[in-house]
């Protein structure tokens, strides 16, 4: 077919001579042939459908170009067509491992626009679920990264804990993933009886389990050789690239929005920020592992200090009234009707609301034009920006190190492509 031969001709016409000459000049005249290889989009070692064009010299990566867009869902445009509370399920499916964080960023932005006060109990419940989600995201990262590196049995251990966390999510909201639990003004429902007991049981076993994972991996010779000293990147380059989250903390910068710019009552809790020293793959691994311990501490403090009170704002123009009120109060009925059919109206304005997701700074930009549907929703996804750091990290490293670095980068393609 002509298109096929045209494609082959185009492939053959690509020359890599500038890069080859550069390398030859570095070597003092010895020329070498470079191979451009396409990794993905369907590849077992990439976390999602990420396509990489690597230019190799032997087994050393000389140049890397990520090509994304294979899971682009048009979430931001879909969000413009729906009322604000209907956007929440859509926006949750963006970064599909940290769905509570997506919902938190969006709800926080809308609440800022509305100047709506979130009750304290709702804030503490939000913190509990956010930290549970953070643990779950780090567990999936640990399982799949260990799988990539060859420590296959870690996958089953991590998913065992993940199932317990998903049981908790199912207990509080009815769904395992994409739970729609966070609503504008608070949370959709109070936690049921028995949730606290189950959660306490979980946080009593979790540090022990994390110790088990650490014991399995931390001093494993193969893991150390694959991660220690591999693909470091200094803090200045990372900051220039806009990288945040565990990657930046591994390089030594303790920037964490939970401490720097607290939201949802994070200032009430005492926890530490794990920070690395060298910024290589091992530091990224260790930082995330340590964050699991810290998250357990936060959950325990939130559970101990959980105040009584409403779980969603009392403003009936924003939150649905409780069902029993509908039988007696006319206003409740009207509010319910207006909220369900049209939705609440948000005063016009623009806001950018950043939070700390397991991968870095997750920001939600909303522009509202006074109607009940947002005029523009943009999520500043951490993985999208962190992906730009891959190329500087892996230049000069082996292909196997590329796979390990991708694993330690923790990219989630749903967030990258939105």
């Amino acid at each position: 077919m002509s298109t096929r031969s045209g494609y082959r001709a185009q492939e053959e016409s690509i020359t890599l001579s500038p890069l080859e000459e550069q390398i030859a000049a570095q070597r003092g005249g010895e020329s070498t042939e470079l191979l451009t290889l396409n990794i993905g989009p369907h590849h077992p070692a990439t976390h999602g459908v990420l396509r990489l064009l690597v230019t190799l010299e032997g087994e050393i990566v000389r140049e890397l170009k990520p090509i994304i867009g294979y899971v682009h869902t048009g979430i931001e445009k879909t969000a413009e067509q729906k009322a604000y509370w209907k956007v929440i399920p859509v926006i949750e499916r963006m970064d599909y491992l940290s769905y509570y964080f997506n919902a938190m960023a969006f709800c926080g932005a809308v609440e800022t626009l509305l100047e709506c006060e979130v009750p304290k109990r709702a804030q503490y419940l939000r913190v509990i679920h956010l930290e549970l989600n953070r643990i779950m995201s780090h567990l999936v990262w640990l399982g799949t990264s260990a799988l990539d590196l060859g420590a296959i049995s870690m996958f089953w251990y991590c998913f065992r804990e993940r199932e317990t966390i998903l049981d908790l999510f199912e207990f509080s909201s009815g769904q395992r993933m994409h739970t729609r639990y966070f609503q504008v003004g608070g949370v959709i429902e109070d936690i049921p009886r028995g949730f606290e007991a189950k959660l306490r049981e979980f946080i009593s076993i979790m540090p022990g389990r994390t110790d088990q994972y650490a014991d399995l991996l931390r001093r494993n010779e193969i893991l150390l050789q694959r991660l220690r000293g591999v693909c470091p990147l200094d803090e200045a380059t990372l900051l220039g690239l806009g990288v945040t989250g565990p990657l930046l903390r591994a390089a030594g910068n303790p920037w964490d929005l939970r401490k720097a710019d607290p939201y949802t009552s994070y200032e009430d809790f005492e926890f530490k920020i794990p920070v690395g020293t060298v910024g290589d793959n091992y530091d990224r691994f260790a930082v995330r592992l340590a964050e699991i311990y810290e998250s357990v501490k936060i959950i325990e403090q939130a559970l101990d200090g959980l105040p009584e009170g409403p779980y969603i704002t009392e403003d009936r123009k924003i939150a649905l009234p409780p069902r029993h009120e509908l039988a007696t109060s006319m206003e409740a009925l009207i509010h319910h009707f207006k909220l369900v059919t049209e939705g609440f109206r948000v005063p016009p304005g623009e806001i950018y609301y950043p939070i700390e997701s397991p991968r870095g700074e997750l920001g939600c930009f909303i522009r509202s034009d006074g109607s009940s549907k947002p005029a523009r929703v943009h999520m500043r996804d951490p993985s999208f920006v962190n992906l730009q750091a891959t190329a500087p990290m892996v230049r000069g490293a082996y292909i196997a190190d590329l796979i390990a670095t991708l694993a330690m980068l923790d990219p989630i393609l749903g967030g990258i492509d939105r």
């Binding site: 867009g69 294979y70 499916r93 491992l97 065992r160």
Partner: protein
């Protein structure tokens, strides 16, 4: 002595014996011959054994696209264990895989890639559309998503967003039952899906 003729029930041993005798004599023709061949072949123990073997040792291809991929990983994990049914060997290369579990939303950019991977799988092959996004458009009805039915034949659609691991298990077991009972899969003719394998021998791939 009165002659009585007992009616021969169709499908009984005697009737099948008579049909076999007619076939050997060359007396069966056209539709009758076809039907006889079909019946006797489908009911042979050998065919059933092959279908049983195929259904219990499917190699799924590792093909996770989005959120449903995480629930697919849960199916592989210990609580809902897919290895009990023989599906544990996930093959990365489509040439070695039998089953494509389309887990996640298929975007415009990804659709030709998925089709190519499906083409690279060798017959017999099956496809499960996991989740609402791949079966229909799911939550996102917009310019960027393609429902999988538009470009490749799907055997089982599993609804859910994402489907629970138990729901995916149900879909997989349904597929397994389909393979055991009706391995014919002639229904795929309407997709023009015959002969679309991509075989790298210098020959152009036929079909879509």
């Amino acid at each position: 002595m009165a002659l009585t003729r007992e009616p021969i029930e169709p499908g009984s041993f005697r009737a099948r014996g008579l049909l076999a005798r007619d076939m050997l004599r060359g007396d069966l023709e056209g539709l009758e011959l076809e039907r006889h061949v079909e019946q006797s072949l489908l009911l042979t123990t050998l065919d059933r054994a092959v279908a049983w073997g195929r259904s219990n040792a499917i190699f799924p291809a590792t093909f996770g696209l989005a959120c449903c991929a995480i629930e697919m990983m849960s199916v592989v994990a210990a609580r809902v264990d897919i290895a009990r049914f023989g599906f544990e060997a996930f093959r990365a290369s489509p040439r070695q895989a039998d089953l494509l579990i389309l887990s996640g939303r298929v975007s415009i950019k990804m659709a030709p890639v998925v089709r190519r991977i499906y083409d690279q799988m060798l017959e017999p092959k099956w496809a499960i559309a996991m989740g609402a996004c791949s079966s229909s458009m799911g939550v996102f009805n917009n310019y960027a998503i393609v429902p999988a039915d538009k470009f490749m034949p799907i055997d089982v659609h599993v609804p859910g967003c994402p489907p629970r691991p138990e729901a995916l298990m149900h879909g997989i077991l349904k597929l397994r039952k389909m393979i055991q009972e009706d391995p014919d899969m002639g229904w795929r003719e309407r997709y023009d899906a015959e002969g679309t394998e991509e075989v790298l021998s210098g020959a152009e791939p036929t079909g879509a």
